[in-house]
């Protein structure tokens, strides 16, 4: 934690409301993006994002400065997402996919193959959209532990060390779980693509 950040944290601990406003404005998009990607539902993401900042306000005294402030905030976000996912799992709530709200990347091009390697080289716009849907669907069905790690690494672009700090896992475990998450995701994408292909081929 650098000197400037330490001063800022000091203001937060002193319950400086202006500092807290600055904090929310500074981090709200990043926290919201992470939470939405983790939960996949807009309404839940909005609520959990607010919860993150309320937790920060309540517990900022417990921030020891061992990590960056952003890492600490991310950790709170991850924990709240986990809690929410566990709660949802218990209630067996049906997932409504708001991930369709993501901007569709121009770079994404669909494919006509079943394998991940093949679908990465696309031909048609409809297949592009189908591929996006399939990847998101596959991600949704990935178990929460692997999903959070894969998102942090491959979408949020956090370094392994940062992920280890955020999740409290050691780096080796982080790497192996990310690897497993990716392989599970790949299998799911391939299976879903195959299912769609078969469905399409049926008269």
């Amino acid at each position: 934690m650098d000197e400037e950040e330490a001063k800022f944290v000091g203001r937060l601990i002193a319950r400086d409301e202006t500092a807290f406003n600055e904090l929310v404005v500074l981090f709200e998009r990043r926290v919201f993006s992470l939470v939405l990607r983790m939960l996949g539902r807009q309404a839940d993401a909005e609520e959990v994002t607010q919860d993150v900042f309320i937790q920060v306000f309540r517990n900022v005294e417990s921030f020891r400065g061992d990590s960056k402030l952003s890492t600490w905030i991310f950790r709170i976000g991850i924990n709240l997402c986990k809690n929410r996912m566990n709660y949802d799992a218990r209630r067996q709530s049906r997932r409504h996919d708001d991930l369709g709200d993501y901007e569709e990347s121009d770079a994404l091009q669909g494919g006509d193959g079943v394998s991940v390697g093949a679908v990465a080289r696309p031909d048609h716009a409809a297949e592009e959209r189908q591929l996006i849907e399939v990847v998101r669907e596959a991600l949704e069905t990935l178990d929460p532990e692997h999903r959070q790690l894969v998102i942090l690494r491959d979408v949020e672009d956090l370094a392994y060390e940062e992920i280890a700090e955020v999740t409290g896992l050691n780096i080796g475990t982080v790497k192996s779980r990310i690897h497993r998450g990716r392989s599970q995701l790949r299998e799911k994408v391939e299976r879903l693509m195959l299912q769609r292909k078969v469905r399409k081929a049926e008269p």
Binding site: G117, L131, R186
Partner: protein, 131 residues
């Protein structure tokens, strides 16, 4: 290790049978001990990462809502008004209001001094005597 070299390390060395379901590789991964460095993975995980990035890349379109206003309201409610007690915390610092208030108070003091100060009293007494 830098981020780039880290990413490079994750790139598979060769891609035999690329495009086929990598069941054998997945099995090998599943049985690998936790903590083992998986960067030299035998199958193409780069494709998975690229797919994921393409599918989820960019900021979500959805609005994060009025996060600040909602958080302030919730903190105000929870703290029973101790924090974010009024609109002042959310508005820019109202310096003009303070300046106007100070000017009005100063004017009141001056007026009071003229009315009730030594000169003012003498004037009143003189006026009474004159009657």
């Amino acid at each position: 290790m830098s981020e780039d070299s880290e990413r490079e390390a994750e790139r598979p060395q060769s891609q035999p049978g690329e495009g086929e379901a990598p069941q054998a590789s997945v099995d090998a991964v599943a049985s690998a001990p936790a903590g083992e460095d998986m960067d030299a993975a035998p199958f193409d995980e780069v494709d998975v990462r690229d797919l994921l990035r393409r599918a989820l890349d960019g900021e979500p379109k959805g609005d994060s809502g009025s996060v600040l206003a909602n958080v302030q309201r919730r903190l105000r409610d929870e703290s029973k008004g101790q924090y974010f007690a009024d609109g002042w915390a959310t508005a820019p610092t109202p310096r003009e209001t303070y300046l106007i208030t100070a000017a009005v108070m100063f004017a009141l003091l001056v007026a009071a001094w003229f009315l009730l100060g030594p000169y003012g009293i003498h004037r009143v007494e003189a006026a009474v005597r004159a009657r």
